[in-house]
Each structure stands twice: as C-alpha cells, then as structure tokens.
C-alpha cells in the first residue's frame, strides 16, 4: 500500500518535470536556453518515471520473490544511466555545433568564447 503512494508520487514528479521541459523548449528564444530546459528537465523527468518502474519491481519482488522482477529493476537502472550520459553528451555536441555555425546567444551580457579559435 505504501509502495503505491511512492510510485504515484514519482510518476507525478516525472510528469511535471517533463511538461516543464517541453514548455521550456517551446518558450525559450534561442538554442542554448532551449537546451537548458530540454536536457535538465526531460532527464530528470525520465529518471523519475523510471524510478516508479523500479519501485514497482521492488514491491512486486517483495510480494512474489520472482526472478524476473530483478531483471526489470536492473535493466531499468541501466537504461536510466545510459539516458543520463547520452543526454548530457548530446547537448554538449549540439551546443558546440551551434556556436561553430555562427549563432550567438541572444542578449548575452558576456561572451568569452568570442575570439577563441583553434
């Protein structure tokens, strides 16, 4: 019973974070700020929806002690770790490519990368 409360809570947090991330992607003016919203919020939201799956697996394993729930927990954990690493690296790649293409951040107060070239 107490498990259901935790599962519902983490599902709710995940949904709210994902929604904020997508609204941020729609609202923010340039690529860099959109990447801020996209990377942080959707990674956090996906971590929490997957955490709900992991909690579900733990509760089922406590009831039935069936081995397939161990597989569920471990593979969900691996998927979350992979997702976090690839999201951060992909955001880095997109930001770098955007800067090299010549798009500057709008209304920037400071830009140390301006004269830096390889």
């Amino acid at each position: 019973m107490i498990w259901n409360v935790f599962i519902g809570l983490s599902l709710l947090i995940g949904l709210v974070a994902n929604t904020l991330g997508i609204v941020g992607v729609l609202r923010f003016p340039d690529v860099y700020t959109q990447l801020h919203a996209e990377t942080k919020a959707t990674t956090f939201g996906s971590i929490f929806t997957s955490l709900a799956v992991i909690l579900y697996g733990i509760s089922k394993f406590c009831q039935t002690s069936d081995g397939q729930y161990v597989t569920l927990i471990l593979h969900a954990l691996i998927a979350v770790v992979v997702l976090a690493i690839t999201n951060a690296t992909g955001a880095h790649a997109i930001a770098r490519a955007t800067y090299r293409r010549g798009h500057r951040p709008v209304k920037a107060v400071v830009d140390h990368l301006e004269g830096f070239s390889k």
């Binding site: 599962i7 519902g8 599902l11 995940g14 949904l15 994902n18 929604t19 991330g21 997508i22 609204v23 992607v25 729609l26 690529v31 959109q34 990447l35 996209e38 959707t42 990674t43 939201g45 996906s46 929806t49 997957s50 709900a52 799956v53 579900y56 397939q68 729930y69 597989t71 569920l72 593979h75 969900a76 691996i78 998927a79 992979v82 997702l83 690839t86 999201n87 690296t89 992909g90 955001a91 790649a93 997109i94 770098r96 490519a97 955007t98 090299r100 293409r101 798009h103």
Partner: protein, 84 residues
C-alpha cells in the same frame, strides 16, 4: 484507466507538443533540440510500457534505442558544426 496508461498518454501528448518546435524552429539546430527531446520521451515511454505489457524483455529495447538514437543526434551535430 491505470496510472501507467495515463502517464504514457500524457508523455505521447508531450511528443506532439515537441513536434511544434520541430515544425516552427527557425534554424536546424532548434529542430535537433526538438528531436533530442522526442528521443528522451520515447525512451521514457518504452520503460513505462514494459510494466503495462508485463514483459521484461521489452525494457531491453529502451536501452538499445537510447544508445542508437544518440548516434543520429551526434551525426547531425557533427554536420552542423562543419566537422564532417
């Protein structure tokens, strides 16, 4: 309607919202950001759906998918940066 199905439906609606940025985005970089967001949401949907379908093998698809879609994003980013 189970809570899992509700979550999955809302996430699918968010994919359609992200597609607005895919349509409107003034530059290609904005479109890549939208595609990256769609990737993350699809992986989240797959993980949750493996509970709905009650089959553990389905979660492996999410791992493979997360690793492979990352290749596409990296490739487009390399082309955009002029390094390809």
């Amino acid at each position: 309607m189970s809570p899992w199905m509700f979550v999955v439906t809302v996430l699918a609606g968010l994919i359609l919202l992200a597609m607005v940025r895919l349509i409107r985005g003034p530059t290609s970089a904005n479109r890549v950001v939208a595609m990256d967001a769609i990737n993350t949401l699809v992986v989240a949907i797959m993980i949750v759906l493996s509970v709905v379908f009650k089959q553990v093998i389905f979660i492996d698809v999410a791992i493979v998918y997360a690793l492979l879609s990352y290749v596409g994003v990296l490739f487009i980013a390399k082309y955009l940066g002029g390094e390809l």
